[in-house]
């Protein structure tokens, strides 16, 4: 039999050790959180430092003469004539007027290379919007070529990247700079245009619209189906081997790699039902398959968290099972279901793999306006740009990632906010 003093000593001794263990454990936690935060900070820092430049674009100020003979168009309302018009001649003529001393074929080509190949079409759009300009001259800021843009930005930053330019082009840019005829402007193209092979003309509007259309369809289909399935399984279905089997399968589906849903979509929707390739409908259907398990699982959890006393009270007051579920359980479970739906949508927003099989990884310039227009989505756009050889696409890629991350942050924050705001605790 030991003495009481021994116990006291033992406890004193072990107390210090146990306190130390707890302090250590806390530090492990802090270090883990710090590593996570540091990884996020490095990721964001890298993306922002690479991508911030893409929000500005280089423009060159020139006086453009809308010379009818030069374009070769008499009637601005005839679409065939407009299509055949020599629109590129306008910026070329403006550049030659700016640098009259340039001669020789190759020098002239280099001079034309200062401006984006889309500058002529920009002028066409402007002329069509203001037909009175025909025959007039105006001073206007025109979009510079991507090589010029890269050089000018790096030159302003003090570390000029001149590998893609000739010495003459560099002299021309310096002249323009001294005369205040070249400057950085907000890059509105990035937000108003679709994809392009010319980095300076490429924008994410098409991809954002594609993502939006696809997600709207996904939400419209997966939320009602997912919630109905969850309610039936939780409230009405008998507990037997079959429902267990279904539950195992739903959990399994949630863990299936997303590319498999793409293959499924290809086989069922495209090859069997003949839904067209590359359209938001087929994308929405495939992503619905992918998000359904997530929504069903979170919805079931939300329904489970409603205390049985609520159901018993409703039943006790004479409500039918149907009334109990619809009037009492569903409203209380809805915040949890919505949170699940938002997280499912955020997951769907970031998917590329299932879309690969159904033709949504494609070069699409026009901005989709309906569920049946060919479309691509934001993460696919990032993938396509990251793969492009042109140097100016590096910053575009990072800019597109920033936009995607912004959407994801907004969606996840609203999920947290909804939960905090609407959730009831018992």
């Amino acid at each position: 039999m030991s003495k009481p003093v021994d116990h006291l000593n033992k406890i004193k001794h072990s107390l210090r050790r146990r306190n130390r263990a707890e302090a250590r454990f806390r530090w492990y936690g802090r270090v883990a959180v710090f590593i996570g935060l540091a990884a996020v900070a490095v990721l964001f820092g890298d993306i922002i430092s690479k991508g911030h430049g893409a929000f500005q674009a280089t423009y060159i100020n020139l006086s453009v003469a809308y010379n009818q003979d030069l374009i070769g168009v008499d009637n601005l309302t005839d679409p065939d004539e407009l299509a055949m018009g020599n629109w590129q001649a306008l910026p070329k003529a403006a550049l030659r007027a700016q640098f009259p001393e340039v001669s020789g074929r190759s020098d002239k080509r280099k001079l034309s290379g200062l401006l984006s190949s889309g500058a002529g079409y920009d002028l066409k759009d402007r002329l069509l919007a203001n037909p009175l300009l025909l025959g007039e001259t105006e001073s206007i800021w025109l979009l510079a070529d991507d090589d010029i843009d890269t050089y000018y930005k790096s030159w302003l930053a003090g570390d000029a990247y001149a590998a893609r330019l000739t010495d003459k082009q560099i002299i021309w840019i310096e002249q323009l700079h001294q005369q205040g005829q070249i400057r950085l402007q907000l890059n509105t193209n990035l937000f108003t245009r679709g994809d392009s092979r010319e980095p300076e003309q490429a924008g994410i509007r098409g991809a954002v619209m594609g993502s939006l259309l696809t997600l709207v369809l996904t939400l419209m289909l997966s939320f009602p189906i997912g919630v109905s399935a969850a309610i039936y399984l939780e409230e009405f279905a008998p507990k037997n081997r079959w429902t267990d089997f279904i539950e195992v399968n739903i959990n399994n589906l949630a863990a299936v790699p997303s590319i498999i849903f793409g293959l499924l979509g290809l086989a069922i929707f495209i090859n069997f039902f003949h839904v067209p390739r590359s359209v938001p409908i087929v994308g929405g259907l495939v992503l619905t398959l992918m998000t359904l398990p997530t929504i069903i699982i979170t919805s079931r959890a939300a329904i489970k968290s409603v205390p049985p006393s609520i159901r018993q009270a409703a039943l006790g007051m004479g409500a039918s099972k149907y009334q109990t579920v619809l009037h009492h359980v569903l409203p209380l479970a809805l915040p949890g279901m919505l949170t699940g739906a938002i997280i499912g949508m955020a997951q769907a927003l970031g998917e590329t793999a299932p879309l690969l099989m159904i033709g949504m990884v494609a070069f699409i310039v026009d901005i989709p306006g309906s569920f049946t227009d060919p479309a691509t989505v934001l993460p696919v756009q990032i993938f396509l740009w990251a793969d492009s050889p042109e140097r100016a696409f590096i910053e575009k890629t990072s800019a597109a990632i920033m936009v995607l991350l912004t959407f994801l942050i907004i969606m996840n924050t609203s999920a947290v906010w909804l939960r905090k705001r609407l959730e009831r605790r018992w």
Binding site: P79, A163, R197, E198, M220, A362, D366, F371
Partner: protein
């Protein structure tokens, strides 16, 4: 009430989906080769902007994948055009015919040349495809017939006594690159099949044959220099002893820094690639479904843009993106046939 509205909404969505799927297509659908992709996307974009019509949609599926989709049938659910970095195979042509794709218009748009280059400060190299295979393959034939050994060669002289006594050091694209595939297929395989017993394997064991001919050594003699060909040019400039593998357009644009290696005594030039005397080059094609012309709007306009001088001509924007144009006479004939929508007869010599 509430769930009735929800139910109605679901039914409506389903109905609208089925209704819209049967609608006609407004834009051209192009699939196929990733090598042709950078060229066809530029044409599509220019065509869309100039005409104000819907811009064609282009998917990069690879030549084989594109051909499979293309030959699956006629109708707006199937693509209108497929790009290809090789000619259609007779098996593919037959499959097309079997699926009702009877009238196929073949358009050759130009060439893609792959060059082996070194710095202008070093002497011009003279190589054959067999030298390339022996120097760069992972496994090479040993002394005995049918025997394969790990590539033992460290200098060019060991490969071929006529070559200089310099170390083998080749900078080239990584396996993800199409240039690498073409280099292996046209350069290495071209040399590999000059060895009789390996050539005989092609018939008996095609996979093993491909494995021998296409696998590049990984012991540091072949250095993967990334997808960026500009970077290879810079590294060659810094290291006159090394050779580099890249597309012809980079040689053309950096003629002040690098020079092309003669392959079987043919220097890589614009003309030698165009007239096929330079061995490591391949023609680029696209194929059009004639039944879709007039059904899907814009196909004729797209063909006209692609076959215009401003696109595929010597000073055209495609040449600027790195494509080698056809000779002027061939361009004229090809352009005329394309615009007249002349389909393949089926009597072409296909593989």
């Amino acid at each position: 009430m509430k769930q009735r509205t929800i139910f109605a909404a679901i039914v409506m969505t389903m109905a609208s989906i089925t209704a819209t799927t049967s609608m006609a297509r407004e834009s051209i659908e192009v699939v196929g080769s990733s090598t042709v992709y950078p060229f066809s996307t530029v044409v599509a974009e220019r065509y869309g902007r100039a005409s104000g019509k819907a811009t064609p949609k282009i998917e990069s599926t690879g030549s084989g994948g594109g051909m499979k989709l293309f030959c699956s049938g006629v109708g707006t659910n199937y693509p209108d055009i497929t790009n290809s970095s090789r000619r259609i195979k007779s098996s593919e042509f037959k499959k097309c015919q079997a699926n009702g794709v009877t009238d196929v218009i073949e358009v050759q748009i130009g060439y893609d040349g792959i060059v082996i280059a070194n710095s202008v400060t070093a002497p011009v190299m003279e190589l054959s495809r067999k030298d390339l295979f022996l120097a760069l393959a992972a496994k090479v034939p040993g002394v005995l017939e049918g025997e394969l050994i790990e590539n033992p060669y460290t200098t060019w002289q060991q490969v071929n006594p006529a070559l200089p006594d310099t170390a083998i050091e080749v900078l080239g694209p990584p396996p993800t690159s199409g240039t690498r595939d073409a280099f292996a297929e046209l350069g290495l395989e071209g040399g590999c099949k000059q060895i009789p017993w390996i050539k005989a394997m092609k018939k008996t064991d095609k996979n093993a044959y491909k494995d021998i001919c296409h696998t590049i050594r990984e012991d540091g003699r072949y250095i993967e220099a990334g997808e960026n060909d500009n970077l290879i040019v810079q590294k060659l400039q810094a290291n006159p002893a090394a050779l580099g593998v890249f597309g012809f357009s980079f040689l053309d644009q950096n003629a002040d820094k690098v020079q092309g290696t003669n392959i079987e005594s043919v220097p890589p030039t614009f003309d030698s690639i165009a007239d096929k005397s330079y061995p490591i080059s391949r023609p680029l094609f696209f194929y059009v479904k004639k039944a879709h012309v007039g059904v899907v709007p814009g196909i004729e306009g797209y063909l006209r843009e692609f076959t215009s001088e401003r696109a595929w001509g010597e000073d055209g924007y495609l040449a600027e993106k790195g494509m080698i144009p056809l000779p002027i006479d061939e361009r004229r004939v090809m352009g005329k046939n394309t615009r007249a929508l002349t389909p393949m007869t089926g009597s072409e010599a296909l593989h």
